[in-house]
Amino acid sequence: MLSLIHMYLTHFSKKPRLTDRIIEKSFNSASQIILEVTEQCNFACSYCGYGEYYAQSKNRQDSASMPWKQAKIILDYYLSLWGKKTFQTKKGYVIGFYGGEPLLNIKLIQKVCTYVSKNKPIGINIEYQLTTNGSLLMKHIDFLTTYNFLISVSLDGDAQGNIYRKNKRGIQTFEPLTKSLDYIKLHYPDFFATSIFFQSVVHKKNPVKNIYTFFNQRYDKRPELLEISQARQNRPEIANMYRNIANDELEIFRSFPEQFFKYKLEDPAKPHIEFFLKTFTDNYYHRYLDFLYPSDKNNNSGIRSATCFPFFQRAFFTARGFIFPCEKVGYDKPLGTFSDSGIKIDFKKIRNFYNRIYNKYDKYCENCLSRENCTTCFYNDNDYLKKNTICSHYKPIESFELDYSLSLLERNANLYHHLIDLYYAK
């Protein structure tokens, strides 16, 4: 088979550089602030990232709760920034609550909401979000509906799927939780339809097909699927539980195509073809700005890693007074602290830290298949702090199975045609 492929050989001539100005700007203009209101949890899920199978940080235990005084310092800081009237740059902001199980500290959440309602600048919309195991949902439903919370409930599908979700006494949580959810669905149908979402962890005893079937039948919803995290651990127990989502979806596509379309899943060939087009042609554009500055994914900074600029997405404040760029980066390297006396953050130090790591990874980015489409956050690499480390998702260009992709294109000419028809203006 003859193949004529145009290799996208953009050469990055400068080292990746983040400036403290960008970081400060991101911190001050964060549109989401996440408050870890408590470290405590009433569940003991086997795969929990704060559980026995994961490396624990000295910066997090399981007992602290955020004091109101410190929460108020954070709120005052951001409410004053959000309130700058002239030339407002954003319409809406999010305050998220995280844990442990955040509803265990309902008093703090209630205080935050009341305080924000009284003090938020005119014309600014603030949305509240919560990630919960659902055990206390019914108890506080009236409060949550009053403030129009968007709630993400962790539920892994049917009873078998929830086998790893137990409370601290080792009792299965599926029955009481689904009973609460059924109640809420019946008595608060609009709220349930618009404001309750689900997250499900896919594992060895919980295939994707079962999860979709359960939620479709019981709640007419489609959950966000999560894989068991491989970061910050190296335990066989985790490997034994781990299950890959993409493989499952491919299996559904092959074996149960009618279910595939019923759940409105994407043709699994599509991401392969899109990856190929993104990586090996320069015809793919992510956003309008790419037509002006093709080599400039991030502010002309030269950074190709998908690791977000610190605080670009959100700022995460922990119960013990640490500041992180998000709740998924682990607790080892806080970027700042806060206490009764205020927020302390050194943007130059953060700049140096990030640039050191970007530079370390960048020498591999040049030759990596994903260089134009990186989805890897360096915080998910177990060894990102070590001096000599290779990105765990590094895929040298030589390793690319060109034949496979080209065969896929050949077999799926219609899909390619459909993609072009969908995206291309003749």
Binding site: L2, K85, T89, D282, N300, L422, Y423, A425
Partner: protein, 419 residues
Amino acid sequence: MQNKVQYWLCIEPHVFIWQVNKSVLFYNSINFQKFFFPQQQETDTIIQKLLDPANFYSTLIPNNFQTNSSLAELVEQITKNKIGSIHTLTSEKKPIIIPPFYIFPRKLERLQKRKIEFYDIRILDYIQDITIQLSGECGCNCTACSYYYKQITHCSKSKSSFSLNDIKNLVPTLQLLNIRKINIVGGDLFSIPFMSEVIMLFQSLQTLVIYNLFYKHITSKILNLIFNNSSNTLVKILIDIDEASEEEIILLANTVRSFRKKIIWVLSVASAHSLYLSERLIQQLKIKEYEIYPIYKGDNLNFFNKYYFLNESDLFNLEVSKREIHANQVINKNFFGKVIIKSDGNIYDNENLSALGTIQDNLETLIYELINKKKSWLLIRDNPTCNQCIYKYLCPPPSNVELLLNRETICKQPFTFNP
């Protein structure tokens, strides 16, 4: 048993094939070679197959193609201009070449068709270039005052001015944006009493700041003020060659030379004579950094017809890369990312169009509206005249001159290119 030999006509992935009515244009976006091929019965099917994305820019041709004069001619043109090549294969499989169709899933029209709202969490990044008119007060009486600013970044007159407080309130917002440069224009900028404080404020932005100064307003004292207090700065000197005297320009050149700083001369020309003069002055004064712009002043359309609007041979000789062609199909590279803030507080995407809003409005909202209403940033050659033209996407995007003159095209006297 031996497999039969098959002849595949394959087109290079950087080649564009455009068809309008009875003519097809093949264009190589790397070496810029191009040729027209008229529609003919013998070759039409082949060309249609090449145009179909599902065929991946390759198609079988008869083994005896050389006996067919039209097909042989097509193949010869394709190979001679490095548009493509013939490959002989004995297997059943076909070549795969990815045509240069851009893929942009988040294009506004696509989203609208699927009833999906356009959203970009970093939409404010789109703002790349801001022009701020600090004051419209000016004692000069330039005859073309109402024309310059509609065509290039230039001062203009108005009755309003920002106060120091207004500017202090503006700066924090500018700090939140990812702008690559800020253009400062007046009026007479240095009639503003607090200009030195303004310079310090803009210096704190750590972005390139360009002071666009009308030549009559420039003195050594002003240049000292700018360059002593700021590092990330350029000065552009605005001169209308038709109005300024040679003596004035030479005196100014001497003043400026002593600074050895980054100064760019922006020369407006409205006639062939001033075009000649500007070239002479550049040589005479050894000006290294300059920009020359033709300026329409209401009575010099002939100058534009002769020197600005494109004729057919100009179009045929255009050399445009694949990326630029993609850009021409989606955005207006002349306008995209530019925002103008006037001294009365109005915000524009283009001075030839109505205001987007004011500085009291939410900036994100204004940008979303700009995108959703496909204003200047997304103004492409999608009008009835250009849609009939085979050079449509080779042509530069609509410009300020076309907006000012209310023209659909940049070619001489709109006509359909359909050779």
